[in-house]
């Protein structure tokens, strides 16, 4: 086969090219020709098509995402903002933390184990690329109904894949989410979060500067996996196009990645590189064009130097391959020997594939011929930008009008008992340890708090007691009812979860999972959600440091519930002061902080008991969230409470049951108002705390000082969950609750 060189491209301007098959639109193809002043070579076409795909270029989301920057709250904490591989925040004492969440939805549907595994692998490399040691992972997951056959197929594989890869890397899994909903059937969401730690001076960026510096590719060999994955995978739905476009899935090699991590950390420690980039989507195309674009602007690559797993690969395929466990570094020639020595120590393959120059062009040669000659910015950063039309869906008003107010509520004691048990055992609220016990949460020895606590928390390293806490949240039913408020509620909840462990919320990451951007209704959801989130971040003073957009999550015409997963990172000076939610003793007073309103639309009760979704979500109250957080943080620091749990899905009833089960002791709630509202409303900005008689007065005063309503509602002790109220009185044995809470997932997934 002849090589399509740049000379040939100039000589044969009218040659037919498969731009459409590669996912490019006619005007995009034309623009490439304008940029180059000729038709692209097939290698250039491959590069542009992957880099201009939705997944890499954010072409549909860019105009909206700008708000995260435009509305960013003033903060000194942000060391590296959006646009890099991951944002970096200052956590004090010279330490910096970087964190990010990314999706691997479609690959996990096709091959659950490997899809999820490589999702972890990819996000870990992103964090490593910032110069950080990865220290923990989390996995927000969404599945179809728990008893659906396809959920039975994908869930065990996805969980095993996340565990298989993360455990083998030696990264503790400190939290996540598992949510079941019809809309994810055929389109599960696998989001993966990683957090890393470094010293300020160790931050690295993806830039190729310094003429004469070397470009080194290291890690796994390049194979034929995931070729075209980026454009085809992330830009098309499967059902519409049939299996022909199904990508070949990559197989992860966590051992190679583990060794690569250690090798990189040793390289970082010696300060011998100028820039670094991981190879993820779009492989070498992405890494070389981004490095060059961020640096001096020129780079020459000899593609024949790339070590191959499969000798038959064409240059286009090598450029597009998404083989896992590879990195690309820029270094001065003088440091090459030392670099190679470290790689050899770890048995990591490394080879020089190019040099940095000041040509302003990215040039690539293959068998002595030039096959790429492009301005790197046009590939990496100046892709197409779309202002996609958006419009509120016609059905939205009807959805909002259909409130949960008219649904039948429990009245008798028996019905209350049944409702508690239904919710406690419902797949969304049931114990998740069938899943989470497959994840190592202890490795590295710094885990202060992990599943099932409100937020995961790790000590930054051995030499300090300082720690970071992270929670990811999203109630997509709320976002469906009102995407603007729903996104704010996701932030509220994550923020509250972090504060409930005693950590101070500092920064935000997100993974925006939506349907097709070509559908104006979806685009409306997207734009509303982004605006809502940006506004709320500004109000709460927590900047978005980075994130990820995943579009085309739909089966046929039906989009998933809009699912903007929000991750909040907080800092705590001394992890030993963190709060847990298990009731540690009998005789503690239970105090509910915050105001409870009658808010049931989109609630777990409406979902689990009535399969109902309609109305308006709970009203966010960001100022109240902030004050609640102040109370919780101070209470933790000063030892003013003995346990704390935020209220969210399933309301007070669920929260107190969880506190009982975790502490292995009962509790009695004395409700003064409407029992149903008290137990199952999902009003925001609330938490329940347990205090000793010595702590009680101080906590109440603290709450008052912050204007946070505080109501004494019960006591811990006994072997049952007891509710007394004007309407109804009932009691459920802890053993029964435990049985119902823990039986659900094993019954569904243990075969």
């Amino acid at each position: 086969m002849s090589i399509d060189t740049t000379a040939q491209a100039s000589a044969t301007p009218d040659a037919q090219q498969p731009w459409s098959e590669l996912g490019l639109k006619a005007d995009e193809y034309d623009r490439i020709k304008v940029i180059l002043g000729r038709r692209p070579t097939s290698a250039e076409l491959a590069m542009y098509s992957v880099m201009w795909s939705e997944h890499c270029s954010y072409k549909s989301s860019k105009v909206h995402l700008r708000q995260f920057g435009d509305k960013a709250p003033k903060t000194d904490a942000l060391l590296v903002g959006m646009g890099e591989n991951a944002g970096v925040v200052d956590v004090g004492d010279g330490y910096a933390v970087t964190f990010k969440v990314e999706s691997h939805n479609h690959p996990s549907y096709v091959e659950p184990y490997q899809g999820a595994a490589t999702g972890i692998g990819g996000i870990v490399r992103d964090i490593l690329t910032m110069g950080a040691r990865p220290v923990a992972v989390m996995d927000p997951l969404r599945f179809g109904p728990a008893d659906a056959p396809d959920t039975q197929r994908v869930l065990p594989g996805i969980v095993a894949g996340i565990g298989g890869y993360g455990n083998c890397l030696g990264l503790p899994n400190i939290g996540g989410e598992v949510v079941f909903d019809q809309s994810y059937l055929g389109n599960p969401l696998v989001n993966a979060l990683c957090v890393g730690v470094m010293k300020h001076e160790d931050i690295l960026l993806a830039t190729a500067s310094g003429t004469g510096n070397l470009v080194v590719l290291f890690g796994a060999k390049t194979g034929g996996d995931g070729i075209g994955g980026v454009s085809v995978l992330a830009s098309e739905t499967f059902d519409a196009d049939g299996p022909a476009k199904r990508p070949s899935v990559q197989v992860g090699d966590p051992f190679t990645e583990k060794v690569l991590i250690e090798c990189c950390l040793e390289i970082f420690a010696e300060d011998i590189i100028v820039g670094i980039q991981d190879l993820g989507g779009a492989g070498i195309s992405c890494a070389t064009s981004e490095l060059a674009s961020n640096g001096d602007g020129g780079m020459h690559v000899i593609l024949d130097s790339v070590p191959l797993r499969d000798a038959t690969l064409s240059p286009e395929e090598i450029l597009m391959s998404e083989s896992q466990e590879r990195m690309c570094a820029i270094l001065e020639p003088a440091n090459l020997d030392r670099f190679m020595e470290i790689c050899a120590k770890w048995d990591v393959d490394a080879v020089v594939i190019g040099t940095v120059n000041s040509s302003g062009r990215l040039t690539i040669e293959w068998q002595g011929e030039q096959i790429v000659d492009v301005p790197p910015r046009t590939v990496a950063h100046e892709g197409p930008v779309y202002n996609r039309p958006f419009a509120k869906p016609a059905s939205q008003d009807a959805l909002v009008a259909n409130s949960a107010a008219s649904l039948a509520r429990p009245t008798s004691a028996d019905e209350f008992v049944e409702t508690v048990l239904t919710l406690v055992g419902s797949p969304n609220l049931a114990d998740k340890s069938w899943i989470t016990s497959q994840y190592d949460r202890y490795v590295l020895g710094n885990t202060a708090s992990a599943t099932p606590e409100d937020a995961g928390m790790v000590r930054i390293d051995d030499s300090t007691s300082r720690g970071v806490a992270i929670s990811t949240d999203c109630n997509a039913r709320f976002t469906m009812l009102n995407p603007y408020l729903g996104a704010q509620l996701a932030l509220s909840e994550a923020y509250r979860n972090v504060a409930a462990t005693g950590a101070r919320p500092l920064a935000v990451t997100n993974c925006l999972n939506f349907g097709s951007p070509e559908d104006p209704s979806v685009m409306w959801q997207f734009s509303e959600a982004v605006t809502g989130l940006a506004d709320a971040c500004l109000t709460l003073g927590v900047p978005v440091t980075g994130g990820n957009v995943s579009f085309y999550n739909q089966t046929g015409e039906t989009a998933i519930l809009p699912t903007p997963v929000v991750g909040v990172l907080g800092v705590i000076d001394d992890v030993h002061t963190h709060l847990s939610h298990g009731l540690p003793a009998d005789g503690l007073t239970l105090i509910v902080l915050g105001e409870t309103k009658a808010e049931f639309d989109g609630s777990e009760w409406a979902h689990a008991v009535h399969a109902h979704l309609g109305g308006q979500p709970p009203q966010p109250d960001l100022e109240a969230e902030r004050q609640l957080a102040e109370v919780l943080i101070t209470a933790a620091t000063d030892g003013m409470v003995s346990a704390a749990h935020d209220l969210s899905d399933g309301g007070l009833a669920q929260a107190v049951v969880e506190m009982c089960l975790r502490g292995n002791r009962g509790a009695t709630l004395n409700l003064s108002g409407d029992a149903f509202t008290g137990l199952w409303s999902e009003s925001v900005a609330r938490a329940v705390v347990a205090v000793t008689s010595e702590q009680s007065a101080g906590l109440l005063a603290l709450a008052q000082q912050h204007g946070v309503p505080a109501a004494v509602m019960g006591t811990s002790g006994g072997t049952s969950f007891v509710v007394n109220s004007p309407d109804v009185t009932f009691s459920i044995a802890l053993d029964t609750l435990r049985e119902v809470h823990t039986a659900t997932l094993p019954a569904l997934f243990d075969h």
Binding site: E111, S248, V251, G252, D253, F255, T256, D310
Partner: protein, 82 residues
């Protein structure tokens, strides 16, 4: 009673980290004539009744749906003499 063997191997273009690990170990141990190793799964199925075409077709169906994920793996089915 007959025995049917289903061998499941990763497709040749797919990375085989397990095989690679064995290959490297064999090399370190000095088995230099081994140029490549691939590792897969072997299933031995005991079948009640005759292994006729229908039985084999049904086993092939099982292999396709349960024993292998044909997105990344190939399989072969054969009857083994006892």
């Amino acid at each position: 009673m007959a025995r049917v063997v289903v061998d499941v191997m990763l497709k040749s273009e797919i990375l085989d980290p397990q095989g690679k690990a064995v290959e490297r170990a064999a090399d370190r141990l000095g088995y230099s004539t081994i140029t490549s190793v691939r590792q897969g799964k072997r299933f031995e199925l005991q079948i009640d009744g005759p292994v006729d075409d229908a039985a084999l077709a049904s086993i092939r169906e099982l292999a396709e749906s349960l024993l292998a994920n044909t997105v990344i793996e190939d399989f072969t089915v054969r009857v083994e003499d006892n």
